[in-house]
Amino acid sequence: MTDMALASDAVEPAPPGAPSPARTRRKRWTPQAVAVGIVLWLYAAVCVLPLLTMVLNSFRTHLEIATDPWPIPSDPTVANYVSAWTEASFGRYALNSVLITICSVAISTAVSLPAAYAIARWRFFGRNALEGLFMSGLLIPFMLAILPMFYLMDGLRLIDSPLSLILIYSANGIPFTTFVLVSFFRQLPGELEEAALLDGGSHFTVFLRVMVPLVRPAIATVVVFRFVPIWNDFLMPLVMLRSRDNYTLGVGLTTFFGEYQNDWASLFAGLVITTIPLLVLFILATRQIIQGLTAGIGK
């Protein structure tokens, strides 16, 4: 188990303010550190300010947004939120979005993990072909497949069923998820498995108990990056669903795009409503990333 102990050091706990030995030697407030801090905060502003204008605009009227560049609401109104919530039935759509997105991401991660592990760590006949096959799924313009996918789901009698979306999204997640996870599984030192197998573990237990926890940060990353496009998608739900009761939040947002005119005010309010759950998820996921780094293994 010495290797395991070593590995747990590798992901050494980094409690706030307790720098690694490499860092203790450096003084905390060197000019270089200050400059880097400024750059980091400036870039954070670049990331957030445009989104902040969106939030501020959601409290303004359509005419104000169109005519006045400064997004400070002179007379803040929540009317946009009321109209977004009621006219676009966001309450109902949110429920569908949660169900569909969680199921899809869970399924695609669950089936991709063992496959990625096998591809990354084992030698078997057809391994390269399999990896190439999965990768090819990343390459095809999704728009092209809309028609045949519709035919497939129609053949399975799944039109107007959320199950059609869950199937499509989870299948569509497999190439990306395996692609990322393979590269992480590959990085892990080989001694880990050998030690665990020598201890009498089976391939399954080694995979589940030893290897999967090691790639938890990667899993969290993949989950976030798969979750978001599914949550925001509007095209597939429009293609596959018919009854309004099954629509998702992404579809709800399209309510505000007109033929000749977009309802910016309600759109921004709708956006804030749809993005907040993602933000919460993401904050939880980054905690997972840190936990994965600090406490993932070594038990």
Binding site: T61, H62, L63, A66, T67, M143, I146, L147, F150, Y151, D154, R157, I159, D160, F234, L235, L238, V239, R242, R244, T254, T255, F257, G258, E259, Y260, Q261, N262, W264
Partner: protein, 396 residues
């Protein structure tokens, strides 16, 4: 039972619900519910391709006129209506042209409405400068010059949007090109787009350049509407739909409309540019074809035409309609007396590249100083040569 109607237009769906259209039909047809679903405009054709191809098909779908309608008719997923709709008598010829399949001339849709395109002008700006509605193109240009001197942008065009540029170019250039006479010669193969008159028509867009709002190639449709509605731009060549858009924006702008005036030496007098703006088609896989046919016949009648044209703010496709909005009524009158088809929409959207896309791109190049009107005309002609054949439109 319930009939499902799809449209690309949020505005139309709202008109059906809030304009009392659905209520009127359901009252007269007990037992039939109508649901109007607005699909996303930008992906409408994608959604229709799948929507009409399998189960869960809508019963009636709105289709954009001309090329798109014709291509969906080719797919066999919508059915000919010549015998389904009993009375076509009230519809104008222009409206019916947009509802036909190119190859066999059969009718595949009940026309929704007509868009006319004209110049909107800000009455206050004109009055302040002592300007009257121009009577000739030269007067138009000198009015623009005067407006420019006052610090207001004379003309706004949504110069970031190819389709909108093409429409504006048609408003400005239709009469200069020779209107209906040119159209006939073009469809008959005697003239093509490199004809000197068409080059001169495109040249008007170059002539307008100094009078356009700054950075015109970055102006979106939303922005153009705002610039005009807030008095920052004095004239705006655009479609009928703007009457509703201006009202929705909530800005108070006192505006009037006119058709671009012609110079005496132009091959045509001033005309009202117009095109068929969509129609209602019957899905082959409709689960309730009988009731859907009933609804279609109602959509073809005067009761619906009156409700729809007034709720939507559009020019009616058939007779027997009274428009309550005075601005619309004025457009309608002009349309009845001097109509001229929007060549690009009516004939140049049956293949790739579409003539209107090409026009938009070439005019942008002219404005950016990267093309001349003769080169632009040549480029558009070369593009449509890929699929356009004079004489394909024999029914005209």
């Amino acid at each position: 039972m319930r009939l499902t109607v799809w449209t690309w237009s949020n505005e139309a769906a709202t008109a059906f619900k809030k304009g009392g259209i659905i209520d009127a039909f359901e009252k007269a047809h007990p037992g039939v519910d109508v649901e109007v679903v607005a699909q996303l405009d930008k992906n409408y054709e994608t959604l229709l391709t799948t929507g009409l191809a399998g189960s869960g098909s809508p019963d009636i779908v709105a289709l954009r006129s001309y090329g798109v309608l014709s291509s969906f008719a080719d797919s066999g997923n919508i059915v000919p209506l010549d015998d389904v709709v009993k009375d076509w008598g009230g519809f104008s010829k222009a409206a019916l042209t947009g509802a036909k399949r190119k190859s066999d001339g059969k009718l595949y849709a009940v026309p929704q409405g007509i868009q006319t395109a004209q110049v909107y002008y800000n009455k206050k700006v004109f009055a302040d400068l002592g300007l009257a509605v121009p009577k000739t193109w030269d007067e138009f240009v000198s009015a623009a010059q005067k407006i420019k001197g006052s610090g207001v942008a004379p003309v706004v065009i949504p110069g970031a949007v190819a389709a909108q540029i093409s429409l504006a170019a048609e408003v400005i250039g239709n009469a200069r090109r020779g209107a209906g006479d040119f159209q006939q010669a073009f469809l008959g193969g005697q003239k093509n787009l490199t004809d000197p008159d068409n080059v001169a028509a495109i040249g008007l867009m170059e002539q307008l350049k100094p009078y356009l709002v700054d950075n015109v190639t970055s102006v979106t449709l939303d922005e153009a509407v705002t610039l005009f509605a807030t008095g920052k731009a004095a004239m705006f060549p655009s479609g009928t739909w703007q009457v509703t858009t201006f009202a929705n924006l909530g800005a108070k702008v006192d505006y009037g409309t006119f058709d671009v005036p012609a110079n005496a030496d132009w091959p045509s007098k001033s005309v009202t540019v117009s095109y068929a703006d969509g129609g209602w088609a019957l899905a082959k896989r409709s689960a309730h074809p009988t009731e859907a046919a009933e609804l279609l016949n109602w959509l073809a009648g005067t009761e619906f035409a009156n409700l729809y044209a007034n709720a939507m703010g559009t020019i009616p496709a058939r007779d027997g309609v009274t428009l309550k909005n005075p601005v619309l009524a004025e457009m309608y009158q002009r349309y009845l007396s001097t109509p001229s088809a929007y060549l690009g929409a009516a004939y140049l959207r049956y293949g790739t590249p579409s003539g209107t896309d090409l026009m938009g791109e070439q005019v942008q190049k002219i404005w950016l100083g990267k093309a001349t009107p003769p080169a632009a005309a040549q480029s558009i002609q070369t593009g449509i040569d890929a699929w356009f054949k004079p004489g394909d439109f024999k029914s005209e």
